[in-house]
């Protein structure tokens, strides 16, 4: 039980996907123009990630190491098509807003990264816990980023007006540059907070870079692990540094 909680909770702060290990940045930047979009995208990713980790973990003994990436992509692609059809059926307006970024979940580093780094080496229950934690962290981050951008750029959060009447929205925040500005400022704020926290508790600060290397020591960095001979991927850990 303790192990499951550990795997679940690491995705919430220590290896928070978009803000700590900077995985899955494409949807993070592109679709967070409102809190609702962020939440919808996050939930779609939670669905795909959980089922993909579950299936990969179930099949981990059967998948030949040399073609594992293709197998992971195949599993993720099937799940994404499911999500796409479900969204078309039940939340069509959201599907239209998210557009191309729903099919693009297939190539989201987060899905492939968790399958490669975790689910292919661990039993089913920890894999699901890991996926739920990572997915929840991703959803919360996207909703938070979307909320901030929507509040500053439109004066609303989830469509509810939150500002005074004469407020002139800073509409750069809901446009493309605002995504980069907001993400950069959030990363800076998180590093500042970690520094402050670890200074109080006299620990070494967990930086984004260290989170990446700790992640890749498990054998992650799916974008670099391209030669099939390197079965456990540990040789590529140094690429994260």
């Amino acid at each position: 039980m303790h192990r499951l909680w550990k795997e679940f909770s690491k995705g919430l702060w220590k290896e928070l996907p978009p803000f700590r290990v900077l995985l899955g940045l494409c949807p993070t930047l592109a679709v967070t123009s409102s809190a609702e979009n962020g939440l919808g995208m996050g939930l779609a990713v939670v669905f795909v990630l959980t089922l993909s980790n579950l299936i990969v973990s179930l099949l981990r003994k059967m998948i030949p190491p040399k073609v594992r990436i293709a197998c992971f992509i195949l599993i993720a692609a099937s799940l994404v098509v499911t999500v796409e059809l479900l969204m078309q059926a039940y939340v069509y307006p959201l599907y239209q807003t998210l557009g191309i970024f729903v099919p693009l979940i297939v190539v989201n580093c987060l899905i492939l990264g968790r399958a490669e780094a975790f689910a292919s080496k661990n039993p089913v229950l920890p894999s699901v816990a890991d996926a739920l934690g990572m997915g929840l962290g991703f959803t919360l981050s996207l909703t938070f980023l979307g909320g901030i951008r929507e509040l500053l750029g439109n004066g609303t959060v989830f469509g509810v007006p939150m500002t005074w009447d004469s407020f002139q929205p800073l509409s750069i925040m809901v446009q493309a540059p605002g995504a980069f500005l907001a993400l950069g400022l959030i990363l800076a704020a998180m590093n500042a907070f970690s520094n402050w926290y670890s200074r109080r508790h006299e620990e070494t600060p967990p930086r984004a870079l260290e989170a990446i290397t700790s992640c890749s020591s498990l054998g992650a960095e799916p974008m670099v692990v391209l030669n099939g001979d390197d079965a456990n991927g540990n040789g590529n850990g140094a690429n994260g540094r």
């Binding site: 509409s171 925040m173 446009q175 540059p177 500005l181």
Partner: protein, 319 residues
């Protein structure tokens, strides 16, 4: 026991200092900008003074606040913050509401300077960053033609954009030189800006190749449009004396932290900014995109800095 006093004191270089500091350079720039400020007040009245004072004051205040929050040494006395605020004010319309000015100054200092580690650390020209944030966010308030309806000047670049060169052909260029045109409140005071820029160039405060490259780029690019279609596209001289060309060439593009270092790169940087300015004016959405042109050139500066001189004593193949 007496302290040990050596015969010779050895210290690190430099041993001789010419006395030029950041503060003195910024002070000199501010002083040579005074005629521009005066002409802006003459042309646009007290609202212009209000905008400039507010922008300078809020930039310094925000910088001091940032230094406090980031636990850095407070360096507002090097006057760079004040100069940044003043240059931002030069790009704003004189009718800008107070919160627009304050938001612009805050964006300049926070996004253009403080988060990159203070003066010299920013890859972008700080006043341009503030201007870009404002003009993307509140285009209707930053549109100088819409907000300055009461002024009885011509708006050459807007008319050029909407009606072609025929509409502004008979506009006297002397009027434009003396700032009797609609645009950013200081950017259009072309004559004093030109003199101030030349003074700084002679004194060696700015790299001379940047304005040279900039004007060359503007002239070449506008000739490319003007020669085939003289009715529609304006000649080079028109582009040089309208809008923010001179301000961008002498004061925005020459920001030391965000421009290249080596001569060839510097010249290319100026050319790029000048050509971009004309392209934005001809094909872009904005009537005068001088700060955008400078920002784009800023982004190319690290690449241009890779064109560096051959190191002394190494072989050509090795480099």
């Amino acid at each position: 026991m007496r302290p040990f006093t050596p015969l010779l004191t050895v210290s690190c270089a430099p041993h001789v200092h010419c006395g030029r500091t950041t503060r003195s350079m910024m002070l000199e720039t501010l002083v040579v900008l005074i005629p521009t400020v005066i002409l802006a007040v003459i042309n646009y009245g007290l609202p212009a003074l209000r905008v400039m004072a507010l922008a300078g004051a809020s930039a310094v205040a925000v910088e001091a606040l940032c230094a406090r929050i980031m636990e850095r040494e407070n360096e507002t006395d090097d006057l760079h913050g004040l100069l940044t605020g003043l240059l931002l004010a030069f790009l704003l319309p004189a009718s800008a509401p107070w919160w627009l000015v304050v938001a612009g100054s805050a964006a300049c200092i926070i996004l253009g300077k403080a988060i990159f580690g203070g003066i010299g650390g920013s890859p972008l020209c700080a006043p341009c960053v503030g201007w870009a944030v404002l003009s993307i966010s509140w285009p209707e308030l930053m549109d100088t033609e819409l907000t300055l309806l009461s002024a009885n000047f011509a708006a050459p670049l807007h008319q050029l954009k909407h009606f072609g060169f025929m509409a502004v052909e008979d506009m006297p260029l002397l009027d434009a030189l003396l700032g009797r045109q609609i645009g950013g409140l200081g950017a259009v005071q072309v004559l004093p800006l030109l003199l101030a820029g030349l003074w700084l160039m002679i004194r060696g405060h700015i790299k001379p190749l940047i304005p040279v490259g900039f004007f060359l780029g503007v002239i070449l690019a506008s000739l490319c449009f003007h020669l085939p279609g003289p009715d529609e596209y304006a000649p080079p001289l028109f582009h040089l004396v309208t809008g923010g060309t001179v301000l961008a060439a002498f004061f925005l593009a020459t920001d030391n932290g965000s421009s290249p270092v080596f001569p060839i790169g510097v010249l290319l940087y100026g050319l790029l900014a000048g050509v971009m300015l004309i392209l934005i004016r001809v094909w872009g959405v904005y009537p005068d995109g001088a700060p955008f042109a400078v920002l784009l050139a800023n982004l190319a500066a690290p690449l241009l800095d890779r064109i560096r001189p051959h190191p002394f004593g190494t072989r050509k193949e090795a480099a």
